[in-house]
Amino acid sequence: MSTPEQNAPVHTAGAAEESRPSLSALLLDPSFWADWASVVGLVGLVIVFGIAQPVFLSIANLQALLLAAAILVVLSIGQTFVVATAGIDLSLAAAVMLGAIILGLVYAAGWGIFLACVLAVLATSAVGFLNGVLITAGRIPDFVVTLGTLSGITGLGLILSGGEPTMVGSTFLLKLASGSFGPFGYPVWVAIAAVIVAHIALYHTRFGVHLLATGGQVESAGALGISTNRVKIAAYTISGFCAGIASLLLVARIGSAEPLINTSLLLNSVAAVVLGGVSLFGGRASILGPAIGALMLTALVNGLTLLSVSAFYQPLAVGAIVVLAALIMRYQK
């Protein structure tokens, strides 16, 4: 950069340190580990599980792992947008259930799979929109609103479905679940597409900058003319939309729409966001981080299963890793 020679330079403090640090300095810097916690964790797990159980590294297992991670990756992306605004979406997993049930009922009513998928995604997006409106216009804390919609749409799902699962024997969904293109199954491609679109939205659009500004300092962002309420509503709507996509993948995967909430999906979506280096206080986010965090959590469960560790130990392991990640995160600059 150029600075004019005449006129005393106004500020000099903090110069020079912005030049690129050496690799060893980087490795000694705790904030480097905090920013890359999910990548470091994933690589560590792959090495440990690969040594302990070579089957873990087989192509078939890695493909299964990616397939199993697809839903969590999509949900983590949705959660990331909300957390970036310093909020949280606790209704995410319940929205997935609602989407699945609506998909099942509309399909069972004979309206065709295409309309069923569209309505499922519309419904979950509407839930997100409602969350956003209640939080901004209603001035209710995000935690309370999404806890309320979590309960509300759980009830709605039970009422709509009568508590019974609906079989969805659609060939389209069957193909979505089992088909593949190149090395990856279709759900993996859906997740990859979601990562790319979300990354562009976050880093390469005005919306992305305004989202981070809103999450960083909401009053300042507002003072500069950013309509922070609209940004927040958009973030929750995106979260709902991601829940809808996840519900399609879920119904495709299990072949039926069940009125059950997978609470581990909600907890893991928050865990993946934390592992991905996204600040829970808002203003700082990435898409790749949470996506890799989701992969890491899936790899953990997959590896423990391969090592014949009882499923009872898996939540314990996930919990320990998330708390560890949060501790490392304190060193983030």
Binding site: M1, P4, G14
Partner: protein
């Protein structure tokens, strides 16, 4: 000391007549006439609670006045909100330094006026252009910043204030309004910001400066307006006044 006299309005970039603002039963200021001349630094001084900040907030659309008229660039322009004032060419440097810590210097300078490239229906940020223009904006005001990619969180109070002022000036604003721009700064940083305000004036940007540092006001401004207990009580040329006279005007001892 001179009475409040009227300057021909063609010279005024921003002016008001008979302006009043009340909050419930509390009178912020009453029947205020004020003018800021084009290309000058106009200072508004007064004791705490004299109504300076509220007056400024009314002029830039943060508050809507209860009565009176506001003229910007010779035309009546009541601003309903700060965004309208900004679009008309008035930039405000906020007292609480409205910067976003987690964004970079360049992102802050272009916040809510990002440069985009259109690819069909999609508008993508032109980050390279914003970085380059951010460097140009900073160097035009001789602000030395290690990198425009640096997060604002790591900057000092003076550097942050410099960026706030740079953002206000860089938008091609006709008028930059600053409320206590050096209130939270140290001696050296205050000197730097004062140098920055002089540079704005050299570039023919009109400035309204709210302060209660009389020495600073006499150093920087061309015209000084004095408020006391919700009224505009006097206006003087900075070159024709003394610190003692300003103290007398502000306290009402004269």
């Amino acid at each position: 000391m001179s009475a409040v006299h009227h300057i021909p309005s063609s010279e005024a970039i921003l002016a008001c007549e008979g302006l009043s603002k009340h909050f419930g039963g509390i009178r912020a200021f009453t029947d205020v006439a004020f003018q800021a001349r084009r290309g000058e630094v106009t200072a508004v001084i007064g004791d705490n609670g004299a109504g300076k900040s509220t007056l400024i907030r009314c002029l830039v659309g943060v508050h809507v006045p209860d009565g009176g008229e506001i003229f910007f660039d010779g035309r009546p322009r009541p601003f309903a909100n700060p965004d309208e004032a900004r679009k008309a060419g008035i930039e405000t440097v906020h007292q609480n330094l409205a910067l976003i810590d987690e964004l970079t210097v360049a992102q802050n300078l272009f916040l809510n006026r990002e440069i985009v490239r259109r690819i069909g229906p999609i508008a993508l940020l032109d980050r390279k252009a914003m970085r380059e223009q951010a460097r140009a904006m900073l160097s035009r005001l001789s602000i030395n910043m290690p990198s425009v990619n640096q997060r604002v969180r790591r900057l000092s109070g003076g550097q942050r204030q410099a960026i706030s002022i740079c953002r206000a000036a860089g938008s091609g604003a006709k008028l930059v309004v600053m409320d206590e721009p050096t209130a939270a700064l140290g001696v050296q940083e205050t000197a730097n910001v004062e140098a920055l305000i002089r540079r704005l004036r050299e570039q023919a940007v009109s400035v309204i400066l709210v302060s209660h540092n009389f020495d600073q006001v006499r150093r920087l401004s061309d015209q000084i307006w004095v408020m006391r207990a919700g009224r505009m009580v006097a206006t003087v040329r900075s070159s024709e006044t003394t610190g003692n006279e300003l103290v007398a005007l502000v306290t009402g001892a004269a």
